[in-house]
Symmetry: C2
């Protein structure tokens, strides 16, 4: 496997983009990544596109080819990949593999989603495509329902409180306020969070990420092309993907996702590092409780202490374990297919030292993208290089 | 790149499967492929699943993970890939790459689709997701419309007749009659074909492939695992994927698909062979005229002579250029995500010498899977090995 570097990143703001088609949104992000790199687009040898629900919500598939058309790329292999909410991370991993295995020297990963044009029932129904329809979907369960169950179990087992979990929301919403790409940053009090409109007991409004439109893109290159890259390159030192059960009853424990654990172990092994060496993390906080579970599954925080860490400020930008300095899914937004690549975008800015919520001394960043009821997960680890 | 071999294949019949879920259909085919190989399923290191319209038609995504669950595979990376009707071929290529690049020693490619439960309007609308919705979809054009245009242009340019093109249908329907997996084999006269119900002028009923349910799977292994493989292995000597325009107006000529030409050139180059060395072909005859265009794009038949070759019987099982001995999409059926893997299944049987429509002396087979309006194409070349 060859060394692989990020040569350029691009992203639209996450939020509402009513007047632009999904493929145009993706082209905007990808064009920015290519231009930033300084490389010629004729050199791109493979394109992977992460998207989840453009079929049901927009009647549009073949997005990989459409985006390549819009970018004016050569007749390269263009592939849409899907693993529910992990689709963006899977696209990144496949572009990484294309370069790492020597298939090509330059590969493009793009993620895109449009959701805000659809009504809540249509969005809920589309997101439920991420469940096993026959075993879970027909029960009437939705994703807030699943994470509500996980919250109840977690609080019962570890004694976490609503106020502690609200601190995840306060932190991420506050981080989002300072991220110009974020959809819903806010300065919220514990009371505003804990007394907000009930969505699915015990989850309240701000415990849930919004529906979003957005696109993000990452251009990857082999080491021997680094001399041609304009911005400070960032090295990809691990990219792992694992699966877990697609059924809720297939998980032995709702306070952990085995796909996260397996992908994290694989990524740490590939990178040759311990969790303690990670400077910051962008993880899949689709719900406030998810951030706590994910941070423990990733080995960053001891089991059962995620809520306490949040309450003590240890996961803040200036804490010893910074999580979701971008605002995360809760505040930055969750345009599903774009989310995993948005995490890479944020991490690259951190490792270049140019993030609006810069983590001091950031040298190693980890991204975590989880799909469905834990059916798919990617964990990537990036490292800063000297300019 | 390491040598890669087919260790096992499996397929359901193509046709109507009203009483079985799509993931169960896929598991049935994949389980057969694994069992045939004699390998332990714990050794499978990656799964790629080709599917196109399970989102819109079944409300079910994350099929890669669901199928892995059903098969009892380890916590491996499981990825759905999509490139419209080329999704199955793309899944095969990615499983091939996983082994060829050394990512794993054993990889599984599965394709599945369920369409016959939905009404014609829903199926047409789902298939139109393969077009650029904004430029072509809104015009009211459907795929029969596109291939009707291609037919008119082809007959104007090359002087092909309805009777000549009907011979493609007669051949494929006849081949289907002898393939136990085929959905709609038939013994049809030229008159029955030429006077059948008009679908989209000049296409009549038998010029169009049916909507189908079905699944097919291929297990691939690295050369150093061949000693453990039970059936006669078949080598994959090329796997290429290319893109073309996603828009109809983006094609310089409707009598050719540039994605096919590019993928074919890439595949012949990788295999180090000429088109003349290919013993038989399974190609993407979604419509009768498509078989003629594809056979010319693949360099198998000189430009403008595809219809004459069919009329002269040269593309029959006993001809000098056998095409779609399986019955092709026209007779075997077109469960979209499964089609590309069904073509590999048929080719492996040919190269083992066990096909119900055996091509004599078959040593090299080519499969061709085309997506959308030519937006994505895969071409694979397989070679027989001695037992």
């Amino acid at each position: 496997m060859r060394s692989v570097f990020v040569a350029g990143v691009g992203s639209t703001a996450f939020g509402r983009h009513p007047d632009i088609a999904i493929e145009a949104l993706a082209v905007r992000a990808a064009d920015a990544a290519i231009r930033e790199s300084g490389l010629d687009r004729a050199e791109v040898g493979a394109l992977y596109l992460g998207n989840f629900v453009a079929g049901p919500l927009l009647g549009q598939e073949v997005l990989a080819g459409l985006v390549a058309d819009g970018l004016g790329l050569p007749q390269i292999p263009c592939t849409k990949v899907e693993g529910a909410c992990a689709s963006g991370g899977i696209a990144f991993r496949h572009a990484y593999l294309a370069v790492a295995t020597g298939m090509c020297d330059v590969a493009l990963a793009v993620g895109a989603e449009k959701m805000t044009h659809a009504d809540t029932a249509a969005v809920t129904s589309a997101l439920n495509c991420a469940m096993d329809f026959r075993s879970d979907g027909v029960s009437g369960l939705t994703f807030p329902g699943l994470f509500g169950l996980a919250w109840r179990l977690y609080e019962e087992r570890y004694g976490a409180t609503r106020d502690q979990i609200s601190e995840v929301v306060r932190k991420n919403k506050g981080n989002g306020l300072r991220n110009p790409l974020a959809q819903m940053g806010a300065d919220l009090s514990r009371a505003e969070i804990g007394e907000a409109r009930l969505i699915c007991d015990p989850l309240r409004l701000y415990d849930c990420c919004p529906a979003s439109d957005g696109a993000a893109a990452v251009l990857l290159v082999a080491a021997d092309r680094l001399a041609d890259v304009v911005p400070q390159p960032v090295e990809v030192i691990a990219s792992a993907q694992a699966r877990g059960s697609a059924r809720i009853a297939g998980h032995p424990d709702l306070c952990t996702f085995e796909a996260t654990v397996a992908a994290a172990q694989g990524a740490y092994r590939q990178a040759g590092i311990d969790p303690a060496e990670v400077s910051f993390v962008e993880l899949h906080d689709c719900f406030s409780i998810a951030e706590i579970i994910d941070s423990e599954d990733l080995g960053l925080i001891p089991r059962g202490q995620g809520a306490a860490y949040a309450a003590e400020g240890r996961t803040a930008v200036r804490g010893d374990r910074p999580i979701n300095a971008s605002g995360g899914l809760l505040a930055k937004g969750h345009p599903v297919g774009a989310t995993g690549l948005g995490q890479i975008y944020e991490s690259v800015l951190q490792l270049r030292g140019t993030h609006p919520n810069q983590v001091k001394g950031a040298t190693i960043g980890l991204t975590h993208n989880l799909g469905g009821t834990g059916v798919a997960c990617t964990v990537n680890i990036l490292r800063a290089t000297d300019a």
